[in-house]
């Protein structure tokens, strides 16, 4: 006999199950509750707060609750997207953990009837000086690359971040984006009594047993013994499954379709039945296993990868077999849709478990947990940044920042990802956001993932707002209009009141910013328990954002193009070095007041940027973020080795001006004769914009209030920036 503890439930949850069933569950039923009521599957500690998100706009076709969110992009087309974490598996098996993270998110997208066209990821690690970090980084990047490259979906963007808060708990968040015709939109619902339920794709084995529960507790020494909970991926199988499923959907055979992710067959069966308001009957002896002697529990909770549950229109089974045969894949009828509201599990003729689908899929008790403002916040926020002394050598300070791992070029990472397959990638990794063409149209979609975990730690509410704003600026810098969000909320243990405060306030911040920008949250994922015995991660609400550019030819990139172009600084630079990369890298300080996030003003700034790009006025556009004005400026210079000669007046001390991370700012360049129009556009939106100088060959020279503060060769700076990450990894 299993106990409730064996399957990761608590006493109250167990008592509730007994009460609702009216009897004691058997081992199979208890195991099914164990995985379905885990944090990972039930969202029991987050659901109540997630309801706060604004999830609607005129474009939203499918909000949260399905495998992926879907938005309309016009001309009968839509985009499906979702981001998901694979943090716990990647902490122990970085290669397989990351690879199967990509596999899972791809299935979430093509389950909706969409063809995946781009992947992104946000990966976060501890201090790069640690051998463990290098091992994790190598494994994760190779895992993401090998899987995505093989399936043939370009990995077009992402972020790679280092902070000691991730020493024990790396984060691996994978995002996928797919294109579909509106009429092909599929839902994961089981409908039509008597319709056959088919399991297709890979065989079922003992890998990934209990992965959902594994992901729902802190990482401890004992976790390492649960390594078998990590799944093993097969990208070739995924590619075949992708093609076969899309063909199946196109042929009109599919009533409902759901991928087998966390909690395997258990979640796929009860969720489709619950969504369809029906029941499902499964015979486990019909499941094709890759190992002998698997019992019903193992079959029902296995998390073997590359599998799909398909509810087929009765009478079309043969066509399904034909399509799957063509692709060399397994398919078997394992049961049928019923109208009794139960998930009924049979072993041949014998009924071995029967529970209400609704109770399993949606019955876990929802907690609104107590929260408390963390003690550290006031102390860190009140840190007096005016005590930070001006560095003696500004140039040395800048070079040091450029080669620090968070600012240095990430080419070592993204060159291992095929970012050009599908021949649609207009803006490749290394820019503000990626831009991908939409087949058969002039449109492009812009994609980015962003989060500054230091801001979120110092002030979860403001930090989360800034994550949304930064994503929106990155999208706008390409010329695309931000239209939707998918979010991956990575936090520590929600049972701790201070952590729950971080979670709650992050959600409030995202909600506030996304409401004003009209970028609803259409899908997402929560990952709790990113915490070891020694430390908890900083709150990390990663924002994946989608933007739409009607004419992709109008896009803008970050690089200065030609000599003698005018350089314009947009937005106000304030004395805001709290929480900055500058404080962290140069002084080792993670404290201070985070920059102010003025959402309404930023909305206007974005409108003005979009107007300028639409009128073909800009030659380059780059949003100012980590490292402040000077790092952003140099990033504009690197690709074409084009420098700048600037003269700026400011009330701020030199280092404050150069390194402040004030929000809502951009560096633009344009032809001389376009400058007046550009400034006027910003003026009309009430946004500050001023000409600060011109591009010039090879050198960056800056005067502040008439004093020359910097004279640096672009090549010299570029060398530091390019080598920063490589010198650790090679």
């Amino acid at each position: 006999m299993l106990t409730y503890k064996d399957v990761g439930l608590n006493k109250e949850e167990y008592d509730l199950i007994v009460e609702r069933l009216g009897r004691i569950p058997n081992d199979l039923e208890l195991s099914m509750f164990g995985v379905m009521w885990s944090e990972h599957c039930s969202y029991k500690n987050s659901k109540a707060l997630l309801k706060l998100f604004n999830t609607k706009s005129e474009r939203v076709l499918q909000g949260p609750g399905e495998n992926a969110g879907v938005v309309d992009i016009g001309d009968g087309l839509a985009i499906a997207m979702k981001i998901e974490s694979h943090n716990h598996p990647s902490a122990f098996e970085p290669y397989q953990g990351a690879a199967t993270g990509v596999g899972g998110i791809l299935r979430d997208v093509f389950t909706m009837g969409a063809r995946p066209i781009a992947n992104l990821n946000s990966i976060r690690f501890g201090r790069l000086e640690l051998e463990k970090t290098k091992h994790l980084l190598k494994g994760v990047v190779k895992g993401i690359g090998d899987y995505g490259n093989s399936v043939g979906i370009p990995t077009v963007g992402g972020e790679t971040v280092f902070n000691e808060c991730y020493n024990d708990n790396p984060l691996v968040n994978a995002m996928s984006v797919g294109l579909l015709k509106r009429e092909d939109l599929k839902k994961a619902a089981a409908k039509g009594v008597g319709n056959p339920v088919m399991l297709v794709g890979h065989t079922t084995g003992r890998d990934g047993m209990g992965g959902a529960s594994f992901a729902s507790c802190d990482l401890t020494k004992e976790s390492e013994e649960k390594r078998s909970a990590v799944q093993v991926g097969d990208p070739f199988m995924e590619k075949l499954l992708l093609e076969a499923c899309l063909e199946l959907i196109k042929e009109g055979c599919v009533v409902g379709i759901q991928d087998l992710g966390a909690a395997g067959l258990t979640s796929a069966s009860c969720e489709t039945a619950f969504r369809g308001g029906s029941g499902i009957k499964i015979d486990v002896t019909k499941v094709i296993t890759r190992e002998k002697g698997m019992n019903p529990i193992e079959i029902m909770i296995s998390e073997s990868q590359e599998r799909m549950l398909v509810i087929v229109e009765k009478g079309k089974e043969d066509r399904v077999f034909e399509i799957f045969n063509k692709w060399g894949l397994h398919a078997s009828v394992i049961g049928e849709v019923t109208d009794d509201g139960f998930v009924s599990v049979y072993e041949g003729e014998r009924l071995v478990g029967q529970v209400p689908a609704k109770l399993l899929a949606d019955g876990a008790p929802i907690n609104l947990r107590p929260f408390k403002r963390p003690k550290y916040m006031d102390e860190l926020m009140n840190f007096d940044t005016s005590k930070v002394e001006k560095p003696k050598d500004l140039k040395e300070t800048i070079l040091k920042l450029l080669k620090s791992p968070n600012i240095a070029s990430k080419k070592w990472v993204y060159s291992q990802y095929d970012h050009q397959v599908r021949n649609s990638t207009v803006i490749k990794p290394g820019g503000d956001a990626a831009l991908v063409l939409v087949d058969g149209t002039d449109k492009g979609i812009a994609l980015t993932v962003d989060c500054n975990e230091r801001y979120c730690y110092l002030n979860p509410y403001e930090g989360a707002k800034i994550a949304v704003l930064e994503a929106a600026r990155n999208i706008a810098a390409t010329g695309a209009r931000p239209i939707a969000i998918t979010d991956c909320l990575n936090f520590a243990n929600p049972e701790k009141e201070e952590i729950y405060y971080q979670f709650r306030n992050s959600i409030l911040g995202i909600t506030e910013a996304s409401r004003i920008l009209n970028t609803p949250v259409i899908s997402g994922n929560v990952s709790f328990y990113n915490q070891s015995e020694k430390m908890a991660i900083h709150p990390t609400p990663v924002i994946g954002m989608l933007g739409l550019l009607e004419d992709a030819k109008k896009h803008t990139t970050i690089d200065f193009k030609d000599e003698g172009d005018v350089i314009i600084l947009v937005g106000e630079t304030r004395d805001e070095i709290g929480g900055s990369e500058y404080l962290k890298v140069i002084f080792g300080i993670e404290a201070g007041r985070v920059p102010e996030a003025q959402v309404e003003i930023e909305k206007n700034t974005i409108e003005a940027v979009l107007k300028c790009i639409d009128e073909n006025l800009l030659k380059s556009c780059h949003d100012i973020s980590n490292g402040g004005f000077i790092v952003t400026l140099l990033e504009c210079c690197f690709k074409n080795e084009m420098g700048a000669k600037l003269s700026i007046n400011t009330d701020l001390r030199e280092d404050r001006f150069l390194f402040s991370e004030s929000q809502g700012r951009f560096i633009l360049s344009c032809r001389k004769d376009a400058a007046d129009k550009v400034i006027l556009n910003f003026k009309r939106y009430g946004v500050m914009a001023e000409v600060i100088g011109e591009t010039q060959r090879d050198k960056v020279e800056i005067e502040l209030n008439g004093n020359k503060v910097l004279d640096i060769e672009v090549k010299e700076a570029k060398k530091e920036w390019e080598g920063g990450l490589v010198c650790f990894m090679e």
Binding site: N149, F236, K239, Y414, Y417, Q420, R422, V426
Partner: protein, 219 residues
């Protein structure tokens, strides 16, 4: 003039090269690995991971049913183009000499890549100047071309080296990026000319590559 793009399970650049040929007004079709017919003038083996590239890149694909008649097809002087995985398959088929090993740095590399046209006397490169530098992106984990001394000597003597890397990214012997057979009708290269076919995507140096073959076949 007709062209066909073979689709193996795991091919993933099939659509990319199909679209480029289509945009150049070529009568092009997909040919399924299992039972498709090679009734075309130009056969393209596209990039990707045929059959998962398990065992060794291209090692399983060479046994594909569709390729049963490939030697005869080649002997008749039809054009065969292998890009990336297609190049690997052509070496496994022994239609081209040498082999492709893992990249020297043991990593997958996706990057823009400059090539030098070594031989412009082939159907594909006839519109380039000899010595011209073109940009065809690369994306491979096993593109490190190797051939023994004797084979290399022969390649040089017969002018079979078509493209060389300007900055060797993968450790290929003598910077070799693409070669042609002695008959001058079977060409394999690791870089992707189809990814260099649109200014909007960054570069269109590759268009002349396809146009060369098309014009050649049209006579």
């Amino acid at each position: 003039m007709k062209a066909g793009v073979v689709v193996f399970p795991g091919s993933n650049c099939d659509k990319d090269v199909f679209d480029v040929l289509k945009a150049l007004d070529v009568d092009v079709k997909y040919i399924w690995h299992d039972g498709g017919k090679i009734d075309v003038d130009l056969l393209v083996l596209p990039g990707g991971f045929s059959y998962g590239d398990y065992l060794r890149c291209g090692a399983i694909a060479r046994f594909a049913k569709v390729l049963e008649g490939i030697y005869e097809f080649s002997e008749r002087g039809n054009l065969i183009l292998g890009i990336c995985n297609g190049f690997q398959i052509l070496t496994e088929l022994k239609l081209l000499p040498g082999a492709l090993l893992r990249n020297k740095n043991l990593k997958f590399i996706c990057s823009d890549c400059q090539l030098i046209v070594e031989n412009n006397n082939t159907p594909f490169t006839r519109f380039y100047e000899k010595g011209e530098v073109v940009n065809f992106p690369i994306a491979h984990g096993e593109g490190n071309y190797f051939i023994d001394d004797e084979g290399l000597k022969r390649l040089k003597e017969k002018g079979q080296i078509v493209f060389k890397y300007k900055n060797n990214p993968n450790g290929s012997i003598e910077d070799i990026a693409g070669i042609i057979n002695e008959g001058g009708n079977v060409l394999g290269l690791m870089p992707h000319p189809e990814r260099s076919s649109s200014k909007l995507l960054g570069c269109d140096d590759g268009l002349k590559f396809f146009k060369g073959a098309i014009e050649f076949l049209k006579g």
